[in-house]
Symmetry: C2
Subunit: 412 residues, 2 copies
Amino acid sequence: MPRGFKVIQGSVTAPLGFRAGAIGCGIKNPEKKRLDLAVIASDVPAVTAASFTTNKIKAAPVKVSQRHMRTNGIRAIIVNSGNANACTGSGGIADAKLMARSTGAGLGLKGEQVLVCSTGIIGVPMPMARITPMIPKLVTKLKSSGGDKVAEAILTSDTCEKKIAIEFSPGTTPIRIGAVCKGAGMICPSMATMLCFITTDARIDRAELNKATQAAVDRSFNRISVDGDMSTNDTVIVMANGEAKNRTIKSGTPAAAVFREALEFVMLKMAKAIVRDGERVTKFVDVQVRGARTYLDARKVAEAVANSLLVKSSWHGEDPNWGRVIHAVGYARATIKEELVDIYFGGLAAAKNGVAAETPLPRLKKVVEKNEFTLTIDLNIGTADHNVYTSDISPEYVDFNRSEYSALNVIP
Amino acid sequence: MPRGFKVIQGSVTAPLGFRAGAIGCGIKNPEKKRLDLAVIASDVPAVTAASFTTNKIKAAPVKVSQRHMRTNGIRAIIVNSGNANACTGSGGIADAKLMARSTGAGLGLKGEQVLVCSTGIIGVPMPMARITPMIPKLVTKLKSSGGDKVAEAILTSDTCEKKIAIEFSPGTTPIRIGAVCKGAGMICPSMATMLCFITTDARIDRAELNKATQAAVDRSFNRISVDGDMSTNDTVIVMANGEAKNRTIKSGTPAAAVFREALEFVMLKMAKAIVRDGERVTKFVDVQVRGARTYLDARKVAEAVANSLLVKSSWHGEDPNWGRVIHAVGYARATIKEELVDIYFGGLAAAKNGVAAETPLPRLKKVVEKNEFTLTIDLNIGTADHNVYTSDISPEYVDFNRSEYSALNVIP
């Protein structure tokens, strides 16, 4: 953790002037026992930055939120889990708008001041009969201690809540950043829906917030979305409501640099938590590529290795199989020279100059037996680098993902 | 099967003038109980075409065979399973050359007249002490009935032999084509080593054999190698020795068209057999994309869907999950319009215009319950099409692939 940063309680309601809450309305299961609908609201209009999926199939809430982002004065986010409202046609758009409008009505806002997010099954209409009646009830129960309920309500196949809040002082006034996210599902090749909501009471220039958000997303969530693509619903939203009353943070200032460091710290924590919580994952692996001719080459190699099922299977088996790694390096379509490639597990050389190194395999195996390790690939033909955070794959992953439609009783 | 084609016995020794044999020399296991070294030889020099891996990491036998292909008069192939002789440095090159030279010596040929292939573990030196002494013994035992032993000797994780031979008459003289291949391993994303050896007694012009081979590979093996990449060792070799004494087949003639049809038929049979024999595979799926704006778009979409772990898992679960399919369509980086996309399982509409179609899910589920089915994606914005043959993925696949180095006792 960077010097001067302090972890505090409360996730998205840790920053001043934010309230949140969640309710179970029976989207995930008819008994309403699980929280599946949540609202985060700022007491005042918040400067807001967002990053949405690059998938060409975009869920209705993404389309609606992208439109609402064109207006200033965003005040709230409504989010549900259990249904993605994706591939649901014009009815889906109407449903997403209705969710925003109902939330706005309860909070005394216009619908355009509310962003909408959904995560869950694709291609099934939203059960609006269960959702709409609950929104008025939900918005009256928002609390400045309600952030952690949001962390719970957005989970789908996640096994644990993912949340954080920090306090730091970019100038003389302390400010706070809080976050909740969900991810799990399958991280590679990036078909899990990833949602991340970040609040801050910083007073910050809109242009700087946009730049800081994009930079932090590039260093965090875009390094777990290993093929550069995203699900139909992926969304990162950062709301800055200025309630810390600090001097406005502007681009190019020391305060902006500190804020960027803090935002990246928070996003990276969330991104890594998503990988660790991947469906039935047992290993967290940082795949580092260096010595590439170009940045794009470094990225292609890191993603090819991180995406290889055979490599992931060998990690699961705690097998220091550098042969499968170099195999993937070879098909990554990057410029490489076989006789220059070095591969390290946890800093120990497994291959040097494209052939087996002298490190005894039992020593390499000890690295792969750890829950977390670094795999380094040095192409030795340039100076560009890139890294990807990824995981192993387990037999249980496949088993878990076999039957979504059936499990959700979509098939009678 | 095309009209006039007849399946016959004998695989690579069904064509006239070919002999073959195999032996166990302890590469796969010390007890020498499994065949792991094989030779195919032509009685006379054969016009030979070959297609090698596009992986930038190429195994030593691939490099040596590519060089030998520059000389005419190829007479034989030596192949081993159990060790890929890949990432083995200059020692590996010397080993591959020695295998060719020893085979040539036993057959009265120059080393350059022999092609070399290997499949198995990467990064471990070839156990030449076990191989070299056995080659003289092996080459004296080649028989005109020995083709099927080759089919057995090249297997690694394959569960069954893959072989075929056909007879047909492109002109007045009947000719024969025989084939053996191995594949299994993981078919997508194409990290299995695929070897295919094809013999024919056709007398055929070298340029036409090259063209026919490339065309057939493009329609068969390149449609299971779903991301267009290949393993370090992949090799297809076609030897035509002219012993059928037919009138020489030349480009642009009716006989050439028939020969191309026959060669494609044989390769497609082998390619499909490889997919069916994928490690722990239970479903064979033909992913067909049509209505794409360009051929490249059609290919990107077919490969994205065929490569998606979530899609493959849902097939394994017999879940007609078109949501995951359209999800993958969306991240394929092809030009699409969500509201135009149609998806069919076995010809039954699952989605029309980007939203759920009216076909009841139980009817779609019946299609996915079959061992073989077609998934059709119509983008409805153009006329280009492409298809990929692929499979589901099972939990057993991951389990099976976890521990290669350990299982082979490379780790003491």
